[in-house]
């Protein structure tokens, strides 16, 4: 009788361990999927900024923060669908764009030349962070810089 009890107990323990292995493997797979999605999102955002002519489209230009940087936040639900801030988002994509103060300005004309829009050039520091809001964990962080050589033209 004791033998049976011991063998059932051992069996249960082994079953528990095996179950735990599968659960851990699944958790890790989910974490991996989240990190991968966060990385793709961060890469896309960074490339979007790097290929743009201006660092910020005029329609989303906001007031700068106290240090002169601009912060844009996008919200995503647990399935990585874009949502609004009030919809209890699971993931946050934060983009920080900071001018380095390197700015150069070139006049559009000289003498009696007809007025032409001048040219502004500036180096911007770019930072993209994807955060898991629930776990309070940064899933992907990318930092770079971009020199926008021809801003304020073409309008």
């Amino acid at each position: 009788m004791v033998e049976v009890i011991i063998s059932v107990a051992v069996l249960c323990l082994v079953c528990g361990i095996i179950l735990r292995l599968f659960v851990s493997a699944d958790d890790l797979r989910k974490t991996n999927v989240d990190i991968e999605k966060a990385q793709v999102l961060a890469l896309n955002k960074m490339e979007e900024l790097k290929t743009a002519v201006e660092p910020l489209p005029k329609d989303i230009l906001t007031e700068p923060d106290f240090d002169g940087s601009f912060t844009l936040v996008e919200y995503f639900d647990e399935d990585w669908n874009r949502v609004h801030s009030g919809d209890e988002p699971t993931y946050l994509l934060k983009t920080i764009i900071k001018p380095s103060g390197y700015g150069l300005y070139t006049e559009g004309s000289f003498g009696n030349g007809e007025g032409s829009s001048g040219l502004t050039s500036d180096l911007f520091e770019l930072k993209v962070i994807v955060t898991d809001r629930g776990a309070n964990k940064e899933l992907a962080v990318l930092e770079s810089a971009k020199y926008y050589c021809c801003m304020g033209v073409g309008e």
Binding site: D26, R29, I35, K146, C149
Partner: protein, 237 residues
């Protein structure tokens, strides 16, 4: 006499079966865990490599900004040359004495009025290029800056020649990841109006002072160590 049942020889077979199944399940569980762990490590490593390349790109962008600030200075000096009518001087400008004298004679005597604006546009470009070469060579002594000899004269005489081309590399501290950038300096372009010895100009809208003709991200060849842990690459030397 003891009666033997047909099941007596198979006693404990179910336990062996259960244990075998447990072992198989444990192996599956372990392999699933190992595979997931390896995927996470690989994803994290790929993320780190992207991070490192973007940091390297930032360095290259800062270099490009440095180059453009020199070109900006050259453009301002070329504008000043035109505004102050320095094309009328016989010497004392960035252009060499013989060339400057020729410019002065062409503008004041040889060229018909109708041809002067086009000619002055080329002179402005030559002045810009001369200042750009001077500034770039001073700031980036060790960088290979390529341009044909007597470029200013070729521009003024409207001869087709290649412009200024420069290459620079940025590398991370360990030196395995690199970015090679090729920059071609160009004149932004002005529409000039010449009237009684004075010049007015309008910049062609939105044109930059350089073109990026090459932007190549590359990594030196490496071999992994025996213990593959998705670790940093082991360099050959």
């Amino acid at each position: 006499m003891k009666l033997l049942s047909s099941h007596d020889g198979k006693k404990g077979a179910s336990s062996v079966l259960v244990i075998l199944m447990m072992v198989v399940l444990a192996l599956f569980g372990l392999s699933a865990l190992t595979a997931s762990l390896a995927s996470v490590r690989l994803t994290e490593k790929s993320g780190e490599w992207s991070e490192e390349f973007y940091i390297l790109e930032a360095k290259a962008e800062k270099m490009t900004a440095g180059i453009d600030s020199i070109l900006h200075e050259a453009e301002l000096k070329a504008v000043e040359y035109m505004k102050d009518s320095m094309f009328l001087y016989e010497s004392g400008t960035i252009l060499d004495e013989g060339l400057q004298k020729l410019v002065s004679l062409n503008v004041t005597e040889y060229l018909p009025k109708a041809a002067r604006e086009d000619y002055l546009t080329r002179v402005m470009e030559a002045v810009y290029i001369a200042h750009a070469i001077k500034g770039l060579e001073l700031a980036f002594e060790d960088m290979g800056i390529e341009y044909p000899a007597g470029l200013e004269r070729h521009i003024i005489e409207d001869e087709a020649v290649s412009g200024i081309f420069m290459m620079f590399d940025v590398s991370e501290e360990e030196g395995t990841k690199n970015i090679s950038v090729g920059i071609e300096v160009k004149f932004p372009g002005y529409l000039l109006e010449y009237d009684e010895g004075t010049v007015s100009g309008t910049r062609i809208t939105g044109t930059g002072r350089y073109n990026v003709v090459e932007w190549r991200e590359w990594q030196e060849s490496f071999e992994y160590g025996e213990d593959i842990q998705y670790a940093e690459p082991v360099r050959e030397n």
